[in-house]
Assembly symmetry: C2
Homo-oligomer: 414 residues x 2
Amino acid sequence: MKKINIGIIGFGTVGSAVAEVLRKNKAVIAERAGVGIGLKAVCDIRRIKTSWPLTPDPMTLINDPDIAVVVETMGGVNPAKKYVLAALKAGKHVVTSNKELIARHLPELLAAAAENNVSLLFEGAVGGGIPILDTLRDNLAANKISEVYGIVNGTTNYILSRMTAEGKDFGAVLKAAQKLGYAEADPRADIEGYDASYKAAILAAVAYGARVRWESVYREGLEKITAEDIAYAGEIGYAIKLLAVAKLSGGALDVRVHPALVAKTHPLSNVDGNFNAIYVKGFPVGELMFYGPGAGGNPTASAVINDILAALRAPRPATRGLKPFPLLPIAQTAGRYYIRLQAPDKPGVLAGISKIFADKKVSIAAVTQKETIGNLATIVILVHGVKESSLVAALRAIKRLPVVRAVGNVIRIL
Amino acid sequence: MKKINIGIIGFGTVGSAVAEVLRKNKAVIAERAGVGIGLKAVCDIRRIKTSWPLTPDPMTLINDPDIAVVVETMGGVNPAKKYVLAALKAGKHVVTSNKELIARHLPELLAAAAENNVSLLFEGAVGGGIPILDTLRDNLAANKISEVYGIVNGTTNYILSRMTAEGKDFGAVLKAAQKLGYAEADPRADIEGYDASYKAAILAAVAYGARVRWESVYREGLEKITAEDIAYAGEIGYAIKLLAVAKLSGGALDVRVHPALVAKTHPLSNVDGNFNAIYVKGFPVGELMFYGPGAGGNPTASAVINDILAALRAPRPATRGLKPFPLLPIAQTAGRYYIRLQAPDKPGVLAGISKIFADKKVSIAAVTQKETIGNLATIVILVHGVKESSLVAALRAIKRLPVVRAVGNVIRIL
């Protein structure tokens, strides 16, 4: 049997899981691939105990004529980008699970892969073990994709699930999650939605062949979601999830990350804990959802090794050439909204609010007045589909109403 | 751009959807595939109104040197098998969505494809638009798959969902489903589990490379499930689903179709209506689930056209060579069970039942005595993991107890 050698740059959680799985699943991989995959060497600047040949210099692997595929699992943009480009230029296929690198530099990296007639694959960068990029690129090739909604950050989904189950507020659950290792000591990349926005940009690139500037992805994190928002949403049949959205809207692309109310009848609403799921709508296939572990050494190793096999099977670029798409500004998006207000519990309050919504052509779908604490009542309003700029204008006017004490939260509805 | 011609044999719901989608999605398909797909002719023995060249004789397409891919969407085994074999022997790739043909004759068809160095692909045969076979074969190639559980029959899932939502019995819901076109006039292929057992055999073939005699798949249908079973299961946190199971158990393969209690925390429990979903467990990936439309012209056309593109991309057999696996007899399987009994509401009944379970080493996990109607009480018992033969022996003894009036139902727990 033919043998193909690979090298791994960055021997942390994912890199070492790749090595371990190549060893444990050697027979099944060889049987399916029709070739043996040999790990020739690993590279890490740390002095790691490993039975594999270890080098501190990535260029040793990159310049090794015996190595056909370079796996990059260092993470971060620098110096990962330099080594990925060097490997592509050296004629190696590159497989990476580095979401930040891919989200920020995909066009440049794809161009380098195309120039050198090698593959650049990055299934592990979105959804961990879920083969979502392969699926969008190959298994749904007959489809016009129109909507992609993903729960793509395990940390925030874990936090939301515990807030929902335990009725606790964000801060308390975040602390508990940090203690258990489900959230980082510095959790901002997750809870402020940066991680999800990398993934939204990558999903848009693969689903639509769109060149998306990652910095242009609208982003809201989880910080403003309270236990009462989750409870009120639950009462009216919704779960709150942090969504990465990539949908076509006319000829423009609507890419964003924010919390959203998801109807309990929608398959995404049942995705709990640190699992990920990506919902896809297309023609002719209709609605699909792909569910699985969104992170971790073993699931990501599954994605990385599959990419190695895919590169060897049919070398080709990971996506079609990326085309620029106009991005829909968030003010131009349209949708339904959940609004939580605080106002004194006295006559005329609802009349004032309703009048402003009517003036601004925002149509109210449902209103509930919640319990009064002190003399302040909480009012929860759902509005029908409306352009976000109209809603913002209405809310600005409502905030100026003397009877309205505070707009507690405004959350989009999927 | 290079153009590839195809022909479609059987121009019913799926065949005509394939033609329509090739027309509507022409640009996106050409862009992704790098070739144009032309539909040269369609074949149907009926005189159909269509703008495509129509022939009543499949051999006209099969012998056409301009046609590279033959799509078989006639359904049934005869004469579909004859034409699929003829097309493979004529050096055409064959794409089919014909589950019965594939479940019954896969080894012979694969051998013919291999001999003639062409592809035989059948993604549409399981899970409609869900790309599950592609995923098992390619996107999870690094994994040792250990468990596949599928909700693969939309009709029975629709019936169970309505029984659950409305508290109605099987017969009433079946009639309503027939009126709405969700169940056939002769519904036996669906409700007795034949359709699901075709799909279980195909899933086992693709996930494990197993040569499974379809006739050996253990099969139980939906007929015995009552509204009270669904209600009792719901009270203790379970939904009832008709599952296709294909799992490895030691060196043997455990392939079966039957209703099962699925914990509401399991992602399969939330798959409602006529949707399908396939849950997969493997190493290193962990747990995945793939959800989508399990039938219908458009979703199946998505699968068929993707197979056409896959055949053109990298011609190769749809599965590895199939190997014989020992099949685990149902009596040798082990699991947890739900048991519903009827017995007079008087002292000593539970003691008698418990003693027999203890004698037969069946360990009771929970017992609930339900309301008494007349002087008959319903007792619901859950038992811990046990070999099915031991449970059957215990139930045989329990049925002989003078105090037990009837064993209402026994349902496996996932």
